[in-house]
Amino acid sequence: MTVTPPTVAAEEPRRELRRFRSIKGRETWAGLGMIAPAGILLVLFLIIPVVLAFTLSFTNARLISPNPPRFVGMDNFVRAFTADPLFVQSVGNTAVFALVVVPVQAALGLLLAVLVNRRMRGVTAFRVIFFIPVVTSIVVVSILWKFMYQQDGLINSMIDALTFGLWSGADWLNDPQTALGAIIFMSIWQAVGFHMIIWLSGLQTIPEELYEAARMDGASPWRQFTNVTWPGLRPTMVFVLVTITIAALGLFVQVDVMTQGGPQGSTSTIVFHAVRKGYEQQEIGYAAAISLIFFVAVLIIALIQRRLTREKD
């Protein structure tokens, strides 16, 4: 870029003004050009679909149909809450899943992170072991666990051996009492490594001097944790909480691979129900309404979390 010498500017103030404007104009254009790729993709794959889903949710649009979609007002939303017991059940299942997974996974992740943050031999090996399930495709993990959960699968054989045949285990995925629990257990195991890594990165930002000072004050390891580690982990905690909550509410793949929402709807989730209604049963309008309800629910939960975890000072 060229800088106009001030002498010229003094002689021709109007030209200087125009030039100033054009520099501003250029920056605007350059800026627009730079956000264009991301902007276009966002519009195409985020904003347009959201607007479409919003519009579709007030119609009876079908995936395949020669009949044109009709505006049906709030019918889809009323139907979801009053005439679709499986939807209500799915909301309940999703809530239970999130309520168990969020605290347990976060706490376990932190525990593992504290354990592998020690200076000891083979710590890298442990980190790798805990992280392997995260990088394995969730579809593969689900198929493997489906086999392990079978009546005569690995888990029941193990229970059988450990209890010397006193207790032979349940048919985990085919019993409405245990199916959701089995999926919760597997999901926590699968993703805990990811959150361990996040916690670990948080742990390593806490300066060593603080621990030194605490030790000189004679603080026990537990006091060190509550007064040094935990306060230092606050931003990490917020991030972990938000990511786990969003991931938990979006539960889909495990259900799709392992149980298809069964037995008796005990593992159906909101996202799974929306996909099933939209694609399998071709009711795109109704599925869009379910997605919209889901969107609003996630938004509300995220806002509440933000409020609860905001910096008070």
Binding site: G153, N174, G262, Q264, R276, E280, Q281
Partner: protein, 429 residues
């Protein structure tokens, strides 16, 4: 710079628009360099070399046989195939020729994806009735084969346990079937019969709704096609549900293990309710000891599912005459025989059956042809079938895991009826 950035922006926009529209390219019915009209063709056979081999043979024979058309084919894996068709239809991009699973045909015909087949009637009349797809009195699809289910058993095992070997004249009754399972369980088979319940999707209605029909129920009231009430939740259907749940509750069948017929081959189960496609492998493993038995008569005679993959011409095909010529050419008995023997499916014409290694009068797999002729029930020919199929699968799985039968079936009926109503009866009112 002032002029360049807007160009960049518009270039980005153009690229984005081109990306969204790129599905359009390459599917038109173009002409080749030597002036032949190209007919595009999609199959669901990727991953099935035996089937693809025959298709490639037919296509190359057809392309060599005349100089007006050239068939160009593309194969998709079965799991992604229906989605590909629906997506192609949504973007106006359907191939000229496409294969489709029999029960989905009315849905696609109703949606306007397909045009009437209009093959010569002597050709369609020569095919097994279950290999021809009819919707609103028009033929929209036709296939080279049908599949059939049967119960596989070892003669030595049945005789050794004093179980009567059923025939088509005298199939097992419901009581006899149950007694046979109990005997086999006592004989040491942990689960005496493998009915394939570990499988998912279309297998469920295909394999288990015939039991329902044998009890006297059905998936939908076929006289109106407007409601499932009475058919899917009447006393016959409830009897079916309790019978079906009992198979699992009493430990006669389970839903673990592998999809396919391996448990029977390994003699882990005494009976296997499975399809003709597994028959040659079973024959190789068991030899002369293999019995191919009719399913039990649960009150209204034995029933099995009918209707397999068939061919249709899309409504977007701009040279339907060429597509018809190709299909007519492909329905030669020699090709049908080849499909039958390579894929182990029932040939759609009697002549092809007689020429086949397995399905002729003396063929080892002849019983399947007779079962298909005597017992086959088509899945309801209505566009609602996509929903009926998914709803039935869910309901049957719930029943398997011990849900209340009447309640589950009532819920399935209300789901199906709500769907039919919201589609204005799918053209049946």
């Amino acid at each position: 710079m002032r002029t360049r950035t807007p160009i960049l922006v518009s270039a980005g926009l153009v690229t984005a628009i081109a990306l969204t529209g790129c599905g359009q390219a390459g599917q038109g019915d173009d002409t080749t360099a030597d002036g032949r009209t190209q007919l595009t063709m999609w199959t669901h056979s990727a991953g099935n070399p035996a089937e693809l081999e025959v298709y490639e043979q037919i296509i190359s024979d057809f392309n060599d046989s005349q100089d007006e058309y050239e068939v160009v084919h593309e194969s998709f894996p079965q799991g992604a195939y229906n989605d590909a068709i629906v997506a192609a239809a949504a973007s106006g991009d359907l191939p000229c020729l496409l294969d489709l699973d029999g029960p989905i045909m009315p849905n696609w015909a109703w949606a306007g994806y397909l045009q009437p087949l209009e093959l010569p009637t002597e050709l369609t009349d020569s095919l097994l009735p279950t290999a021809v797809g009819v919707w609103e009195d028009e033929i929209y699809s036709a296939g080279y084969w049908d599949a059939a289910l049967a119960i596989f058993a070892r003669e030595s095992v049945l005789e050794g346990n004093g179980i009567r070997i059923p025939t088509m004249e005298e199939p097992w009754t419901a009581d006899e079937f149950r007694a046979a399972l109990a005997t086999l369980k006592d004989a040491g088979y942990e689960t005496p019969i493998d009915i394939g319940a570990e499988d998912t999707g279309e297998w469920w209605p295909y394999a288990y709704s015939p039991f329902l029909q044998s009890f006297g129920g059905d998936l939908i009231d076929r006289s109106t096609m407007l409601t499932a009430d009475g058919a899917l939740n009447g006393p016959e259907a409830v009897a079916w549900g309790e019978w079906f749940a009992g198979l699992f509750a009493d430990g006669y069948a389970d839903n673990s293990g592998t999809v396919g017929n391996q448990e029977f081959v390994d003699d882990e189960v005494a009976l296997s309710y499975t399809g003709v496609w597994n028959a040659v492998a079973a024959l190789d493993a068991v030899g002369d000891d293999l019995l191919i038995l009719p399913p039990p008569d649960l009150g209204n005679g034995p029933k099995i599912g009918g209707g397999s993959w068939q061919w249709g011409i899309s409504s977007e095909c701009n040279d339907a005459d060429g597509a018809r010529q190709y299909l007519e050419f492909s329905f030669q008995d020699e090709y049908i025989t080849e499909f039958a023997d390579k894929q182990v499916v029932i040939p759609a014409t009697e002549a092809a059956a007689q020429a086949s290694e397995y399905f002729g009068d003396d063929g080892a797999l002849r019983p399947f042809v007779e079962f298909s002729q005597e017992y086959a029930v088509l899945r309801p020919e209505t566009p609602a079938y996509a929903v009926i199929s998914a709803t039935f699968e869910t309901a049957a799985k719930d029943i398997m895991s011990g849900a209340d039968v009447q309640e589950t079936l009532d819920r399935a009926v209300s789901d199906i009826d709500a769907n039919i109503a919201s589609n204005d009866g799918y053209g049946f009112q």
